[in-house]
């Protein structure tokens, strides 16, 4: 796995080195070309700010008020009735938070890892879940919003279904390997 870590470490310096050099050799006015592309990045970043604010406000009120906590409590018996190891109940806050907020989920995962220990079942499960699914709901609203899409059709269903499968698969593999 060290090789992969090394690739990640070298990827950005390599791209920064190779792309402009190669382009210059192929007669691209590299600096002007960069600025032209960067301008588009600037505009897009500004354009998504309203979508970021809209989503973050709603999510933060939902989480901070304790409404999320109530939903998590409601989900616990359901989790129990599925006959799962009750130790795994601790993962519910992360599972619910994960699709909504990246920083929120990282906060919950970090807290779980410290509370239960990184090498505990919950610690490993939280790590796996955090790494394996994305902030689906948040990404959808910001990406679609940035180009003015109002009707998402079946995108939310597909995304949340994949997240749910990611959760089930995480629980299964972590219990199987470390359980």
């Amino acid at each position: 796995m060290n090789i992969i870590a090394e690739i990640s470490r070298w990827a950005i310096p390599f791209i920064l080195f190779f792309v402009p050099l190669y382009a210059y050799v192929h007669k691209v006015p590299v600096y002007e070309s960069f600025v032209e592309g960067a301008e588009n990045g600037f505009k897009t970043a500004i354009k998504i700010i309203p979508f970021l604010i809209g989503m973050l406000v709603s999510i933060k009120i939902f989480v901070d008020s304790g409404a999320l906590g109530i939903i998590i409590q409601m989900l616990s018996p359901l989790f129990d009735s599925l006959g799962l190891n009750s130790e795994l109940l601790g993962i519910i806050p992360l599972a619910v938070m994960r699709p909504l907020s990246g920083s929120g989920a990282l906060g919950v995962a970090t807290q779980l890892i410290y509370e239960y220990g990184p090498d505990s079942l919950i610690g490993r499960l939280a790590s796996t879940l955090q790494g394996s699914t994305d902030t689906t709901f948040f990404v959808l609203t910001v990406y679609f919003g940035s180009v003015g899409i109002k009707k998402y059709r079946y995108a939310v269903k597909v995304g949340l279904l994949a997240d749910f499968v990611g959760l089930v698969a995480s629980i299964w593999i972590v219990t199987k390997i470390f359980g």
């Binding site: 402009p20 897009t44 990404v139 940035s146 180009v147 079946y154 470390f178």
Partner: protein, 193 residues
């Protein structure tokens, strides 16, 4: 659906806060979140400009075209509605590569760029195209080879083996990605969707 989820989170949050005597928290959270949204956006200006600037160089040098051609057979299978030689293809591939390598801050610029290109080919500008939904399904379930952030947290928390979760993470993501691709395929080919 999004309008409803957004409203439900907002309203239920305020009701719970009011019922538990935490109504001040609502004001504070709303203002904090609004500021955070701006902070995130401002930070994005830098990375977005950097990556899209580099991508523009790579485009003009023909690098993106070459990479697109290499992956084109796979991308065309996944995105049957995409035009041949679509400029979206390059951005989609860059986004997925960045995701796989765990370069989160590079993935977002390429992803947003891909959405712009897909929107250019969308006949119904307010309704998501099939290609867009496939892209979002791939993007949100994409495999990451090294979940660097969480490995960092585990390391700090004193784990004996911080990287031991890489295998389980890849397995879980692969399952999620498989279901994302299959369910997208099923929904896409359903009538009236």
């Amino acid at each position: 659906m999004v309008n409803l989820i957004w409203l439900a989170m907002l309203i239920s949050g305020i009701i719970v806060a009011a019922a538990t005597g935490n109504i001040d928290k609502v004001t504070q959270s709303a203002l904090e979140a609004a500021e955070l949204g701006v902070d995130v956006g401002i930070q994005l200006i830098g990375v977005m400009s950097l990556w899209l600037g580099l991508m523009h160089i790579a485009e003009e040098a023909g690098i993106i075209g070459a990479i697109s051609n290499f992956f084109a057979p796979v991308i065309r299978k996944l995105f049957p509605t995409l035009k041949r030689d679509s400029p979206a293809m390059g951005a989609i591939i860059m986004n997925l590569c960045a995701n796989i390598l765990g370069l989160g801050n590079a993935a977002t610029p390429f992803g947003l760029k891909a959405m712009q290109e897909l929107q250019n080919e969308n006949d119904t500008p307010e309704i998501a195209s099939k290609a867009m939904i496939t892209f979002m399904a791939l993007n949100t379930s994409c495999i990451t080879l090294v979940p660097a952030t969480i490995i960092g947290v585990r390391l700090k928390a004193g784990s004996q083996n911080p990287t031991e979760i890489i295998g389980t993470t890849i397995f879980a993501t692969a399952c999620a990605m498989f279901v994302a691709i299959v369910s997208d395929y099923i929904f896409r080919n359903r009538r009236n969707e």
